[in-house]
Symmetry: C2
Subunit: 660 residues, 2 copies
């Protein structure tokens, strides 16, 4: 999605790549103009793609994807685990990513590359190169069977990685021993694979003599990095899988990767089973301090979350869990510690210290997973107690260490991680944004689930709401919260200090909206949706004065964070060439609204890019490429962690940032 | 006991060091001359030492040791786990090994060093330097409390090793973290121990944050090699132990070492619990080929043997098993494979191949041991299927790789390992000697246990027997077998082909013995002991014609082995400067008898040295010294394994060697 190239400075025209704000789409006439009065439609700014994926054996399967408009069909497929032929990784050069696109509206435009690739008849039938088709409205996409095994894969934010997984398979036919060649079984195998310095697990040695002889000395060595983890009878080189986990405090996402092709074969997510211990990291850390058994139970709950997802993706794709040889896990420092059973107490209290930033060689079994019994685990290291492995993965996925532009990565959540790169130095910090963005502490707050208002437009004609699932609004999720506050500031119903204007002023400023300004108890509120015309305000979906304050504190914490980072590198707001909004919340945030309330620097809206689940993308990258894995490790050295709570000027800056 | 120095060629006078043959002792008048007729006494050629060991706290304990005559009191104590002060390692230079010796007979001679060390009164009271007192007859020895912690220890055959165990403890007082010093717990610890490149076990990381804070950041790091295996609260540097195992097919021996002093604190042995699966390696390998569960059961039985011994030595010495941080194990290739659960089948059938010669980093738990949960295990690598880790340990203990002399190491047993060094190259082989030396396949054969005849002298006056435990003879053990055959050959009752001479010839050659030559069934036998004068011959202890054949085949296999090794290095028998007889059997063999039947090269008897349990000594050495451990690994490269069954000329040589 981002236009940057890993290895060079950005071309000027790339700066103005697509950004997926609703404003942008309005300008381009891609969304219907707001209707009068209050309307409820799927105004989420998302489009639905329906993929019919043909298999080599003649079968086909149906898969759906919901993405921000403007995403290329190739990326939309790739993010959702649908493999499309490609050798250039979606850069419009290999002309292999042929798909047939059908849409209810205008067919996608024909590019020069399409013309060179397809006949006129094919173009008329809807054939296009998937990497050049922008999903600006709902599309049906036919994906032909894969003809090539890609040598590279596109992951992260437009990052193309050369496939060089740590998991390797080597089929060997060994010479059988004789009295004049009594080399040991292991030496025999090692000498057949002499480009690697193999280390060997005891369990492999235990079975090696039997496996070699039962298989007539024709076997496949399974190697992770340089560890020989198994010797399988016969030639099994075509079968190797790995699992990428994004272990969030709230949600856990698993992607099963086929390491032969570099493509995802299944994706699944579910709530973290640690939820009953508390919704955020602090309550879970506290649990371990109050109850000596809690750490063990939290560790088991994490393991169960991961195991259930592993079973789900393997089941869905028909992959034997014993053929999953490696996992990668990206999580914040607390989630990572809990998943590994490392006492998390010091993370929860000043001076916020980790037991360790990086980990020794780990087995998937150390995370409670039952895959291949000696499957390895790569766990992302953390930069600090509140800039965890998920952000390190995100930096990798977004190429923070490779891009020469001035870029800001903001992962918005209860704990908001902020990373700034000037193309040379990288600084990172964490800002305690509080629960506003997760819907917590907000009167009508809720998670970004069915019924949550996620888009709000205020106009002369009234209120327009975008609701997840296109149903009756039930509450306000984080992006809706930002939207409504931004809109209220824009129309003038909230002043710069974050206070609702008096009723008289409201009637004058926005006559169509003024009657929505009322009270619940002693508190002033703005009503977004009233289930029945005469229903009591308490039963409405509304925004309260206190909600505004919560958001104000959150955005002040975040903007103080990046302000201080900009100072650290001697930069001004306007120097920032790209802002990446990451995390399940950030990706759904309207860039225009984020700018308007000051959550991100005041920049042309096209510089604000929705980066998606960057942690999960980073986890995939380290499984696909040893070079990227080395990059992730190097980040520990390259990034300077800035502790905000240690800064004497933090409070002053914070107060400065409170205003809208 | 060998006089060789690890680092230089032998001085001429050292060649004639003590050898513990009965002949030698007869010559020196140290044994009573043989009495007339048949006498039964403890003629084993062993002396009993009784040690009264004073502890620092004023207590004392009584310990016994039974050793070949001529061993120094210092070595006898050291071999039996009794610590005596010494910094020179028993070489007569430090004058620290002061003991008080009492004997029924003549007091031990006073040496120049004793005169310089003790007053006349002290000398009169029996004070001597323990390394200069030769145990030529039974002695009572008072050992004063230890005053020094030796920096070196004497182990193996006179090898002095500088104490540098892989197990290290480091007490550190860490600076507590602050907001301006948020180094992780692990980095904090690593930077305090920056001369080591520590690797860390996950289990240590799990507890590290809690241990550091509960102990106010004052902790002791437990390191094995460079692996951080634990962090203990407070200063525990004085407490570190390791366990050396000699895992024999028949007997398992454990020595608990105090790594602070380098001295053994307890020794124990017991039968290998794998015995029910068969007495030798082949029957145990066969068991795993017939029954898929047998490998698991054999592994468990080995683990139980080791665990019981570990419990015994820890219990006896009051050492917490959690303070045993490392074990070393020396065993033959089959015992080692079974203990680790490695499928042993290829070891049992031609072309006799090992799964592996060396092992990855192992935990004591991999051997079924419950010591410190992350205690490491060092397992001796094997050179071949029948030249195992026990022999590699033996080479280390005897300094085969360091000594410049031409030396032959023979470990006598069912499988006989033979190593020859010319001071530069080392060659090794295995000879299938069969069960004769273990008492198996011999009519009146038995293990070297109470009632076993282990010394036989034939004279004009009749038969003189040395019996273990000084009781009524019950059977013939391996050394007795060799002795009686050698004596029968010497007096002429057996001819060079191994046949008993006819009765008429016998009456002429040895009138006092001829009536002992009789028959059991159709087979001619020589009666050694008849329980009652008129008891039937079947109930006697006797040697049969077939027994002689068994021994003939065994000695032929062995002598063929060293003959071919001598040829391999272009040497003649007379070039051999020292023969080391090792193993529980070899150590008790009379050198003179071994020469007489051709089991060892025909050399001056003083060149034949009893080397004791060299496997166990090697295991101790690798625990005490990283340098020696590296030496053991290097042996794998330095030694050339010669496969006898591959040699076309083996059978011809074997037949040549059959004659006495």
């Amino acid at each position: 999605m981002s236009e940057h190239r890993p290895d060079g400075p950005l071309e000027p025209d790339e700066l103005e790549g697509p950004a997926f704000s609703v404003d942008h789409l309005h300008r381009e006439g891609l969304l219907e103009p707001p209707a009068g009065g209050e309307t409820v439609h799927d105004g989420s700014g998302r489009v639905d793609l329906s993929f019919a994926v043909q298999a080599r054996d003649g079968g086909s399967s149906q898969r759906g994807a919901r993405v921000p408009p403007g995403v290329s069909v190739f990326d939309a497929a790739s993010w959702n685990g649908i493999a499309i032929d490609s050798t250039c990784g979606g850069h419009g050069t290999c002309r292999k990513c042929k798909v047939r696109v059908a849409s209810a509206g205008t067919p996608p435009p024909v590019t020069r590359h399409d013309e060179r690739t397809f006949s006129a008849d094919q173009l008329a039938e809807g054939w296009r190169l998937a990497c050049l088709v922008r999903a600006t409205h709902d599309l049906a996409v036919d994906v032909p069977p894969l003809t090539t095994r890609p040598k590279a894969a596109t992951v992260g934010v437009g990052r193309q990685v050369i496939l060089r997984p740590a998991v390797q398979k080597r089929y060997v036919e060994l010479v059988e021993p004789t009295l004049s060649d009594q080399r040991t079984d292991l030496v025999r195998l090692r000498e057949a694979i002499d480009d690697l310095e193999l280390t060997v697990d005891l369990e492999v040695l235990r079975r090696l003599p039997v496996v070699l002889r039962e298989a007539d000395f024709k076997v496949t060595a399974v190697v992770v990095d340089e560890a020989l983890i198994d010797v399988e009878p016969g030639d099994t080189t075509g079968v190797r899988y790995a699992l990428a986990f994004d272990l969030g405090t709230t949600t856990v996402v698993a992607t099963l990767l086929d390491l032969e092709s570099g493509t995802p074969v299944a994706v699944a997510s579910r709530l973290n089973r640690q939820q009953p211990f508390g919704g955020d990291v602090i309550t879970r850390i506290s649990a371990t301090m109050l109850d000596p058994d809690a750490l063990g139970r939290l560790q088991a709950a994490a393991g169960r979350s991961l195991s259930e997802l592993a079973a789900e993706v393997c089941g869905e794709s028909g992959v034997d869990p014993g053929h999953v040889y490696e996992v990668a896990l990206a999580g914040n420092a607390t989630m990572t510690a809990l998943a590994l059973g490392i006492a998390p107490e010091p993370l929860g209290v000043a001076p916020f210290v980790m037991g360790t930033a990086a980990y020794p060689e780990l087995l998937a079994a150390d995370l409670g997973l039952s895959l291949h019994p000696r499957a390895r685990a790569t766990v992302f290291p953390s930069l600090g107690a509140y800039v965890g492995g998920d952000i390190v993965a995100g930096m990798l996925a977004t190429g923070m260490d490779r891009d020469k532009r001035v870029r800001l990565l903001v992962d918005v959540g209860t704990n908001c991680e902020i990373v700034l790169s000037d193309g040379d130095r990288i600084v990172a910090t964490a800002a305690p944004a509080g629960p506003a963005f997760e819907g917590g502490a907000i009167r009508c707050g809720m998670r970004a689930d069915e019924g949550a208002v996620e888009v709000v437009r205020l106009g002369d004609a009234g209120v327009e709401l975008g609701v997840i699932g296109d149903v009756e609004p039930r509450g306000l999720c984080g992006s809706g919260l930002v939207d409504v506050v931004a809109e209220l500031v824009r129309v003038g119903l909230l002043d710069a200090t974050g206070r609702f204007v008096p009723d008289e002023a409201a009637a004058e400023i926005a006559p169509a909206l003024a009657d929505r300004l009322t009270k619940v108890g002693q508190e002033r509120v703005f009503v977004l949706h009233r289930p029945e015309p005469d229903a009591p305000t308490e039963e409405s979906v509304y925004l309260s004065q206190r909600d505004v304050r919560e958001l104000q504190f959150a955005k002040a914490a975040i903007s103080t964070g990046w302000t201080l980072l900009l100072e650290e590198l001697g930069l001004a707001e306007a120097d920032v060439q790209q802002v990446l909004l990451a995390g399940s919340f950030g990706s759904y945030l309207s860039p225009a609204a984020a700018i308007r309330i000051g959550l991100v620097p005041s920049l042309p809206v096209l510089r604000i890019v929705s980066a998606g689940n960057v942690a999960g993308e980073g986890a995939k990258m380290v499984l696909l490429s040893l070079r990227e894995r080395a990059g992730a490790e190097a980040l520990l050295e390259e990034v300077t962690y800035v502790e905000l709570s240690d800064r004497a000027d933090f409070n002053d800056r914070f107060v400065e940032q409170l205003a809208f």
